[in-house]
């Protein structure tokens, strides 16, 4: 090869290394720099043969030291690797891993979102002498080697919507989906369909996709990654990262949002968050790591693409095998196959039989259900656990007998009776009159007491008959003798409100403009959900510090002491005007209502309880700041986990209703809260994907002051209605009577 070209390549390798190691001093990097400079100054004096020898030596030295530097990579260096413009991108993978492909999600900048690349690709496989082209749907973020219009793989809501559309296409066509995650996070704008809501929709649909999904992570930043990564097999590139938040974001929160985070703090956060492939494999959030060449794969590492191809084929084969089983000989061969063996040798057809498709979804649920189990503190005794397990089985049997067997026949019988009655009525003979009843008297006539209740005046002589104002729980804020100013006073001319009135009788609602002041979660527990007569379960599951995040134990203990709760989630069974419901509350004062492994587990158990006992499920978000970043991926994995449980519950015929209050942001809204078909908000609440500060930091866009208001979410179609706090009980009961799936037996 030409000496100049080889020298240029060495210089490029050096500049790449220096990019990766950032401003840090490193002896090996200094040595390489020194040697290369030395060579460049001496080169004019060398003869041709000498040049060859020297360049050869330098190349050897580079390879040797690159291997050495590989061992010194810190988590933040890995972040720099995946963000480097020379990092492999999805287009390189399409070119080198698949045999043929056609882009279908738009081309380059002429796409609804150039960051999201969608392609139909084929992988050719041998079956004896025959070649079979296996079609796959490839979906992923394209960072584009510095192409500005790709927006660094930060996907806008409509890009995720496009991905979702083609996932459904793949499902219709019964072909597997390969997703490639190359995103630092979703683009947090609330324009329709809304970042959070679209990710929630993606998760909800992926939870029930009846085709194999294989995800490969290179850069997995939080919600943006989850939007396409809910998969049957999750592979990760060895130099990639998968995290709840970018290290910069974590540092910004850690250091206080006002100050700019220092590089040291960012490094420290990257280390604490356990974001590397190795960490995620250990924690069980990914299935396998695909080894990259030293210092990360670049587009000319063809050997790496070969191994990536082997791995995705193997992963897809395994998923298909798990769902529908292969012949005994192939199964044996697959079990014996080693990592290095070419999976091409065993032929597996990737289209699933119809019977296997439900099994695939069930296996996917089981896979995610088993994750992050050890990331929480389970304080229950063995006796309690056994009792809970037993009760669960009994309830399952009970539901089976009562709702699946008995109710089925009862429904049939009543359907038959109804039909007969309708037939007879068509003849002008009511069934009632046949049975000797006088239909007009009892059915249309109003009972006397109801008539008097509806027509006579209330009881002024007994004082004010205000039953709805008599709150069971009265906020302690109402004991202060002071006045409070409504934030709308300037625009609406609200008078100052006396705190005992406002927080007592008015339930925290401005009597002039209707602004809702935040209230304690206890107010809702007792006044809306009748917590005094409720049965709380799983209170023993408490938040822990699974990643041993420095300083977090103390903060957690403080939160537990201050609130008297073990986690930010309370789950209980209660009755709403006679109807039994399961309720989960996310409590804002406990670490900002953030969701970690304990909260996720409690939510899943509550949803499963509602499913088994055939009850409606309410989720009340008293405010949530998102996923608990100190739990790292243990937290972010709750997004797909809980969403899958929700999907399973809704598919089984349940009613899942969500109510937002105060401020609800990020992960939970972008998954299990946002996926509900019935979402409501208490007035004056805010909801969205990222707060105004984060939007400004990440996108540079300054959002208008009322950007996240519930009314914006309502006009966007995210939520279905806005409720007054004082009417919550009534509205929830009304919702129970008018909404929901087929399995609600209280009707």
């Amino acid at each position: 090869m030409d000496i100049d070209k080889r020298t240029q390549q060495l210089a490029a390798r050096l500049s790449y290394i220096r990019d990766i190691f950032g401003p840090r001093e490193n002896a090996s990097v200094a040595l390489l720099k020194h040697r290369l400079e030395e060579f460049l100054t001496c080169a004019p004096g060398y003869g041709m043969r000498e040049l060859q020898v020297q360049v050869g030596r330098l190349e050897e030295l580079f390879s040797l030291l690159e291997g050495k530097l590989e061992g010194e990579l810190s988590p933040m260096d890995r972040v720099r690797i995946v963000r480097h413009p020379q990092r492999i991108s999805l287009k390189d993978i399409l070119e080198n891993v698949y045999d043929n492909y056609t882009e279908i999600g738009g081309q380059d900048e002429w796409s609804i979102d150039p960051g999201m690349l969608i392609a139909r690709a084929t992988i050719a496989r041998r079956m004896g002498k025959q070649t079979v082209h296996q079609p796959v749907m490839v979906i992923g973020q394209e960072k584009g080697h510095g192409q500005e219009f790709r927006n660094g793989g930060s996907i806008k809501p409509w890009g995720n919507a496009n991905a979702l559309f083609y996932m459904r296409v793949a499902e219709t066509e019964n072909i597997p989906i390969h997703t490639y995650v190359f995103t630092p996070g979703a683009f947090p704008v609330e324009d329709y369909p809304g970042a959070a809501q679209q990710i929630a929709r993606n998760l909800y649909v992926m939870a029930g996709l009846k085709v194999p999904v294989v995800a490969v992570f290179s850069e997995g930043g939080s919600g943006g990654a989850e939007a396409i990564a809910l998969a049957d097999k999750r592979l990760m590139l060895s130099h990639g990262y998968y995290s709840v938040i970018s290290p910069e974001g974590a540092a910004a929160i850690e250091g206080g949002l006002k100050n700019k985070a220092t590089p040291e703090l960012i490094e420290r956060c990257a280390e604490r968050l356990n974001i590397t492939a190795e960490d995620n494999l250990r924690l069980g959030f990914i299935d396998r790591v695909i080894q990259e060449p030293p210092l990360g794969a670049r587009p000319d590492n063809y050997e790496f693409f070969r191994s990536l191809r082997r791995e995705v084929i193997r992963a897809t084969d395994e998923v298909v095998h798990g769902a529908q089983g292969l012949g005994p000989l192939r199964a044996l061969a697959m079990r014996r196959s080693k990592v290095g063996m070419d999976p091409q040798d065993i032929f597996v057809r990737w289209s699933l039989r119809s019977g296997a498709r439900d099994g695939l979804v069930a296996r996917r649920y089981a896979k995610f259900r088993a994750m992050s189990k050890s990331a929480l503190r389970d304080n229950r005794t063995i006796g309690t656990r056994l009792a809970v397990g037993l009760a669960r089985v009994l309830w399952q049997v009970h539901s089976l007998l009562r709702h699946d067997i008995f109710a089925k026949y009862k429904r049939r019988l009543s359907g038959l009776l109804e039909q007969w009655e309708a037939e007879l009525r068509a003849l002008g003979l009511g069934l009632g009159s046949l049975l000797g009843r006088d239909g007009s008297g009892t059915r249309l006539g109003v009972p006397k007491e109801a008539l008097s209740r509806l027509t006579s005046l209330s009881c002024p002589e007994e004082g004010a008959c205000r039953t709805e104002d008599a709150w069971v729980y009265v906020s302690p804020k109402s004991r202060e003798d002071r006045t409070v100013t409504c934030p709308n006073a300037a625009s609406h001319g609200c008078q100052d409100l006396w705190a005992p009135d406002l927080y007592g009788e008015f339930a925290g609602v401005c009597s002039h403009c209707g602004h809702h002041f935040p209230m304690e979660f206890q107010w809702y527990l007792y006044n809306v959900f009748d917590f005094a007569h409720a049965y709380e379960f799983n209170a023993e599951l408490e938040s822990g510090n699974p990643l041993h995040y420095e300083g977090f134990d103390l903060k957690l203990a403080e939160a537990k002491r201050a609130t008297g709760l073990g986690s930010s989630c309370i789950t209980f069974e209660t009755r709403m005007q006679g109807i039994a419901v399961v309720v989960a509350v996310l409590v804002n004062p406990f670490r900002g209502g953030t969701v970690g492994a304990a909260e996720g587990e409690k939510l899943i158990r509550a949803i499963e309880r509602a499913r088994i006992k055939r009850m409606p499920f309410f989720m009340y978000s008293h405010g949530t700041a998102g996923i608990r970043i100190q739990e790292g991926t243990c937290g972010v994995i709750q997004m797909p986990r809980v969403t899958m449980a929700v999907r399973r519950y809704i598919d089984a015929g349940g009613l899942y209703l969500v109510l937002y209050d105060t401020n609800s942001y990020a992960g939970p809204v972008a998954s299990f809260l946002g996926c509900s078909p019935y979402q409501f908000a208490v007035r004056s609440s805010n909801l969205g994907f990222a707060g105004p500060g984060v939007i400004r930091e990440t996108t540079g866009v300054i959002v208008p002051p009322k950007y996240h208001r519930a009314f914006s979410a309502l006009s966007r179609g995210h939520i279905q209605g806005i409720w007054d706090r004082r009417d919550l009980r009534k509205n929830l009961h009304q919702a129970l009577l008018t909404m929901g799936g087929s399995n609600l037996y209280y009707r």
Partner: protein, 216 residues
Amino acid sequence: MLNVKEMLEELKASPYEEIEVVTPHTGVIQFVGLKAGDRVAGPGGKWNEKPGSVLATLTREKNKKNICATQKGVVTDIAADLEGQFVEAGVRLLTIRHFLSKDEVIARILKKALYLFCAPERAKYYFVPEIDGKIKAGGEQSVKPRDGMEMFIVSRMKRETPLAYSGPEGIIYAVYFQQGDNVDGGQPLIGVCQESQLTLIQDVVNRVQGEWEEQD
């Protein structure tokens, strides 16, 4: 006849507006350490969502409220004797001397020199075709509105009704609406001036644009 030049001289002589800050209601006043001559900022941000500098706090019934500057300017004449005192509503606390910007000066001159014909209700407004044609061909100044002249079409919920101009005779100095956009009730549609004053007004506006020195 309106003397525009004189008005400009007058504005030049005192190029500021004095804003008296008064208490909105009763309460105990606490100043925040401002002195006469201190600069204060008005509401900021793209949507004026950030309140101006805090001037004082007013506490009533243990409810402490900030009194903020509504315009940027320089503080003059603080009623420092009120510090810590209980005051009634409407008591003057301090005065802000707000220096006028170019736009404000021009707006003031035009407000006096022009007759503004305003939209009677929120609707979409169009010129009638003849006037629209005239404006397109010969510019805004080619139209001479007079009282009772049918000039506009008001389009509301797809129902169109004619609207006649009412006001003094003159020529159109400026059009303040976009045809086809919704205009709120009370917003000006056109500004009309006397034909003889047109060049004078234009001259003064140009002079303000060129010469007015804005003070922070």
